[in-house]
């Protein structure tokens, strides 16, 4: 299938317009939508992921490929079965209470959106109640918490404790990150996941919702 290879290649280059029109052409040729998704779009995205992990391409290229992916999926959507295209998941993110540093958290949000997750960004100085309430009301899969100050790290633990108190800790998973946070610290406070940078946070969310 020459055209599917072309779609994958265009997606790798982040050419959203071309991916959209070529996906349409593939549909016009009566190729099955699921086949176009799997052997065109997802095949391209797989390469992008591999190249990103190998430092061969950088964050902007991944985000552009994700945008191209969305463009192609839009065309396919009406023709795919409900089970073919499940939402990747929903993530509530924020910088914990007492902390006003949000550059890292913003980058995580951008990367998660790029990877196809629905992101609810609560901003900075977010209280434990706000994290938990939002997660419950929105039916989120993951809460992602960020801290830059060592003094605000305990606020992460409060969120995890509150989730447990309300019996939500089995349905809502937690992920933490930020300069002072280590994997050991994350596991001590009982977080389900830890991301050492924005790209790693996406991997972490994938595992948590997978």
């Amino acid at each position: 299938m020459e055209i599917l290879g072309q779609i994958a290649a265009l997606l790798e280059r982040g050419e959203d317009q071309e991916v959209r029109s070529l996906t349409q052409s593939a549909m016009d040729q009566s190729l099955p939508a699921l086949k176009i998704l799997e052997e065109g779009l997802l095949a391209g995205m797989q390469v992008v992921g591999d190249r990103f992990r190998a430092h061969d391409i950088f964050l902007p290229e991944v985000l552009l490929a994700a945008r191209a992916m969305s463009a192609g999926v839009e065309v396919l959507k009406p023709h795919l079965g409900k089970t073919d295209l499940h939402s990747r998941g929903k993530v509530v993110i924020g910088t914990v209470q007492g902390d006003l540093h949000d550059i890292g958290k913003n980058l995580v949000g951008i990367m998660l959106s790029g990877a196809g997750f629905e992101v609810i960004d609560l901003g900075k100085n977010v209280s434990a109640e706000e994290f938990v309430d939002t997660a419950r009301e929105s039916g989120a899969d993951v809460i992602g918490m960020s801290a830059l100050l060592t003094t605000t790290m305990p606020a992460m633990k409060q969120v995890i404790s509150l989730l447990r108190e309300r019996g939500l800790d089995s349905s809502v998973r937690t992920m933490v990150g930020g300069a002072p946070v280590t994997r050991e610290y994350a596991s001590e406070m009982g977080a389900d996941g830890y991301g050492f940078d924005a790209a790693n946070a996406v991997e972490c969310v994938r595992e948590l919702v997978g």
């Binding site: 982040g14 950088f58 964050l59 902007p60 945008r67 913003n106 951008i110 280590t182 050492f196 940078d197």
Partner: protein, 486 residues
Amino acid sequence: MRPRLQFLESSLIERIITEALDLLGTLGMKIQNENAVALLADHGATVDQSSGRVTFPESLVMEAVAKAPSSFALYDVLGNQTHDLAGDKVHFTPGSSGITVLDADSGEMRTPVTDDLVRFTKLTSRMEHIEAQSTAFIASDVPGAIQDSYRLFISLLYGEKPVVTGAFTVESYRLMRDLQLAVRGTAAELAAKPLTIFSCCPTAPLKWSNVTAQNLLDCAADSVPVEYVSMPLLGFMGPVTIVGSLIQHTAETLSGVVLSQLANPGCPVLYGGSPAAFDIRYETTPMGAIETQMIDCAYTEIGKHLGIPTQAYIALSDAKALDAQAGLETSMGATLAALSGINSVSGPGMLDSERCISMEKLVVDNEICGLVQRMIRGIEPKDDFPARPIFEEMLREEHLLIADHTRKHLRSEHHFPGPVIERANLPRWQEEGSTTLGERAHREVQKHLDEYEPSRLSDDVKKELVELMSAEAKRHGMEKLPEREE
């Protein structure tokens, strides 16, 4: 704007040249080669038979300078141009003629053998920011009489990049020429597309030995480029002051220019050198000394003033291991060399002054060279005016990660080194094994050697190279060349 470094006022350059011309016109050079002396005498130089010193009239020197080309190109074994030795262009070359190799497994500096030479050539062929190869080591497993030509043989067999080399005797030039002719086909083709640069070193103070003078003449006859490597040692075999040793360097180098241009007017030459500070505490010639680096940059300013392309032994280190000293001296030298616009920079890969080659260091230095090549591209506006639209976009989109402006300029505006230079955050670095620079460099060396692709030189030419070298080895009592890996 391309950033530029300058140590010498133009009035000081002119004074240094005037003093050097005075030295050449009065004290002259001791020249221990009959052909060179005869050539000079035929063109107006005065020969003092009792002292063997030749004095040069100013007009002879300045006419030779005028004949020396202001630029020339180098070509790889396939005939493709790789170098434009002109203006402020900078090309990096590994250091050469190491007598030891730093063995990464044992940490010892040991005597190199054929395998080391082969592996170093393979590694150099894969270094993105190092554009020439050098005959880096003297392999100890072949007879002394062929140790110089054998280096060139291995380089031409395994690598494609042009080679910075040199002959240790008058006789070995012949084979080194034949090896090049095997690659190029004809003498005319070799002259049209230079493949090597030969280092020719006057002896401090103010002397040309028989071998180096004859090498100079032979290279000139074939239009094989030479780099003059004058080496005043400050306070020992040269005045202690930088200006004093610059005068000596200028005199010695200009005498070389005269010899080359008399032998073959217009033949390509590099205004090179390897002057060094002399550390009287240890009786050593530190190549990482700041004064060594300063005089290197300064004499290339004189070379540029004279309109001749330049070379220096800089961007190397006195360290005995791949440590912080190795990194700081090499990057300081590479930075200064690049800012000075030195056309051929010899040094990457070297430790222990000019004695030891390290494969791992070459990989580190390749990344340093990449950084400084970026630096000298300078700072230029790129779709930055008017500024408001990009700021409007940033406020609207909340970031510029995938803005057209970012996509267009990211990879040209920013150089991304690695994997030797580590920029990950601490947790990521820990998750990836908490490796040291030495470990990452060693891993890269292995990877490059695994991924090495043989030179695309034709099998017929390779066969001819082997036959030429084998015959020469036989003449010197070696029945069979050492086994080589593929």
